[in-house]
Amino acid sequence: MNGRLIVGISDMKISQRPEDVLVTHSLGSCLGLAAYDPLARVGGLIHCLLPKASSAGVANPYMYVNVGVPAMIRQLVALGASKAHLAFKAAGCSRMIHIANQFDTGAQNLAMLEALFAKNNVALAAKDVGGSIPRTVALRMDTGTFVIRSQGKEWQI
């Protein structure tokens, strides 16, 4: 049976079940990052609210890009995924109209992810970010397909 696992805001889910679909709704300036290893058939989806945890040892690491994304990767590797095979796809990071750069959480979320990946020599396979649209995203565990829905339209990256 098709299992929809809903990833809330500041939440993360991983799965090894091909019948699962990991879904997160209504990404605004938040980052939605999917990771999928096609060989190990392991994948995860995280929905980060903010770029950076203000202190170490936060109650919920998935709220932040800088600690949540590494935590997701560690869990995927523990389930048999290989860092070399994981494909990462990012969505969200939208911005409000006329928002000043220092308050543009979407841009900061993306910048934090890119800095994290650059430091660890990880490539982003695809991204659909920015603009002012809301995005609902889904990662299919049988194929690794990453689907984005917004304003009545649907596309894959």
């Binding site: 109209i97 809301p134 304003q151």
Partner: protein, 282 residues
Amino acid sequence: MSRREEIIAKAKALPQMPSVVQRIMAYLGKQDADVNELAKLIEYDPGLTVNVLRMANSALFGGCGQIATVRDALFRLGMKRVYQMVIATGIAPRAKGAVKGYGLAPGDLLRHSVAVATGAERLAQALALQAPPHTFTAGLLSNIGKTVLGEFLAVDAAPIMERAAQDTISFEQAERRYLGIDHAELGALLLEHWSLPPAIVLCVRWRLDPCSAPVHDLGLDLIHLGHVMATMSGIGGGEDGLFYGVCQESIERLEATPEAMAAAMEMLLGDLAELEPIFLQL
């Protein structure tokens, strides 16, 4: 009759707030309103009493589980604060349904409204400011115009959204071009028609664009940034997404920092988990 006039006329024909809330509002309009009488009026309605106590005991309102009676709530949190809770319980049920035309599932709009209200309160705390007593209720009522347009008047937001994207304008500017009125102005007209306090009406009217408001108001600036935080977080968001402007002047007046906004957004999710079930069952 223009589309604008037609929308306003239909909105004003909507039923008013529950009678207990109207009675309490009328009582508080009296010069000699007294705390004990107010407590009696609230206690007359068991459902209202339970909801006021649940709200008063939430972490956000500061009761922390120690407020046992309406009198306690009135003495410890103040008459104005409790009055705001009463209004909130009267209006919240209108915002919990689906708003199909605006792409909102059941509970979405209420979730967004609670996030605006709590975001404004939490930002005030993060900035060491005292949020005016009307702030929370104004936040909670901020989307009432959207409920009216999308649910009761069955307006379809899709062409409005297309216009916003095409003309690169905000959603409320597109509403004005398409409908002759935006949901903020309609909401404010309705609340004014229901005789809600002018401070609340002002916040609802200008929360999307406080830069254009005729006066500056601390509550309004807080509500605007509550709306910004709730919208960026995608909490209860619809198809209109982030197609809204940010008023830099509000940020400057509050001396808001990115760190304070981030701190408020962190708190917001916990508050929402606590308060949302209270409002959803109203």
